[in-house]
């Protein structure tokens, strides 16, 4: 079979639509995972085990079961409970929720790396819990976690094609529809595969340099 450039040209408009949807899902999913992960991480340090235990169990469960099944769970089960979301919203929530359990571990490691003296100083100054977290601990933890969080953004990018399964028109779904319509799968699928590498590789190089600058 030969490579057909005109098929690539025909696919391009849909390709850009797909890029837009993929990036949309990525950005929103990242925001959810960053905030929710922080909530989990703070809950890991809750004073009572009645919070620590359930949160630990829930995050462990979400982290060790497939995103695809969680996606279907949200997509099919939530409407049964009377909650209706669009496919894209469901996908964003699923990705955000899934990766929040990863970012939670990153935050936790970052928080654990803050020297104990900082906690003690906050206690000595009798700072309230909220100020201890937001003025003392988190600003110091964030510096260390940025590169690791970035890595999960790249990982999320590579999981956005899963949204295809619930009918979100992201890159892979666009390629598949194009293939089904024209009987030429080679060009769209190859273009999409290369697009992922073209986005992911510079991103990982960027993160590597960011890591060198921030962590050491």
């Amino acid at each position: 079979m030969n490579w057909d450039w005109s098929a690539v040209a025909d696919f391009l408009p849909k390709f850009w639509d797909g890029v837009l949807t993929t990036l949309q899902a990525l950005v929103l999913g990242s925001l959810i995972s960053f905030t929710l992960g922080l909530v989990w991480a703070i809950a890991f340090r809750a004073p009572t085990r009645f919070i620590r235990w359930p949160v630990g169990l829930i995050t462990e469960f979400i982290r060790n079961t497939p995103l695809l099944v969680q996606l279907f769970f949200l997509y099919f089960v939530l409407p049964e409970w009377g909650i209706q979301f669009s496919a894209l919203t469901t996908g964003v929530i699923a990705i955000g929720l899934h990766y929040s359990t990863y970012t939670a571990q990153v935050y936790r490691a970052g928080i654990d790396a803050v020297p104990a003296g900082q906690w003690e100083a906050a206690t000595a100054l009798s700072l309230p819990a909220r100020r201890t977290w937001f003025a003392v601990i988190l600003p110091q933890a964030f510096r260390r976690v940025v590169p690791a969080l970035g890595n999960y953004v790249v990982a999320m990018l590579k999981d956005t094609p899963l949204l295809m399964s619930i009918g979100v028109l992201e890159l892979l779904q666009q390629a598949r529809l194009e293939g089904a319509a024209t009987f030429q799968y080679t060009e769209p699928l190859t273009v999409v595969g290369i697009a992922f590498i073209v986005i992911a590789y510079p991103a990982s190089l960027l993160l590597r340099s960011l890591e060198r600058r921030l962590v050491r």
């Binding site: 497939p66 990863y102 590579k158 295809m164 992911a200």
Partner: protein, 256 residues
Amino acid sequence: MTTGLWEHWVLPGIWITIQLTLYSAALAAVVAFAVGAARTHRSKAVRFLAGFYTEIFRGTSALVLMFWMFFVLPPLAGWQLVPMWAAVLALGLSYGAYGAEIVRGALNAVSPAQREAGVALSFTPWQRMRLILLPQAVPEMIPPFSNLLIELLKGTALVSLLGIGDVSFAAYLVRLATQDSAQIYTISLVIYFVLAFLLTRGMRALERKAKAGIGQKSEPVFKGLSLRRPAGRARELEPMTRGGGASMNAGTGGAS
């Protein structure tokens, strides 16, 4: 859910998921050791090729790769793989690239004096690898490999989108048959969780054995619920199983 659905779809689904995981893990291990070792090779060309391989396969999405192998490879190559083997190939090649980074990190973490001692004793490179480097590096690889194995198990769910009858596919069919999504999807999530739990305990037993072989202690096989390795700072801040980039030279170093 009726017993018929259970016996005809879910149980065979579990078996297919297990098979997929084991076969892809075997392929990924072969790829990981070959490519990871090649990345520590003397020759620059070999190192470059191995690096190229890992960047390509870590750069693209496993699902896109799977679709590519399904739709593009057959007309391109003129032959077609059985769906199951196309899936194993896609999973094994992409997770092997992640594993290669683990192997490389662990090999680099072995003290340079050990390698120099091998040179001083005029071991061949192959003897150095087999008798000096690997016995010390392998126990360090097992915890990150254990995490990667769970990622692989989760990755097998993707094959259901290609119509292979694994647990996720069975869940989809049972949903269509019973019109009750909550039940079957909860069950299948629990199935995956139990499989992941068993895999980690198996890996922990393996780690105990490997560490005992070089006279190190390790934690008991059944202790606590945690599936992932304890979140040491060095390890969690440098996620090596997923994501694009962070080098993990320091990650495996003083761990466990």
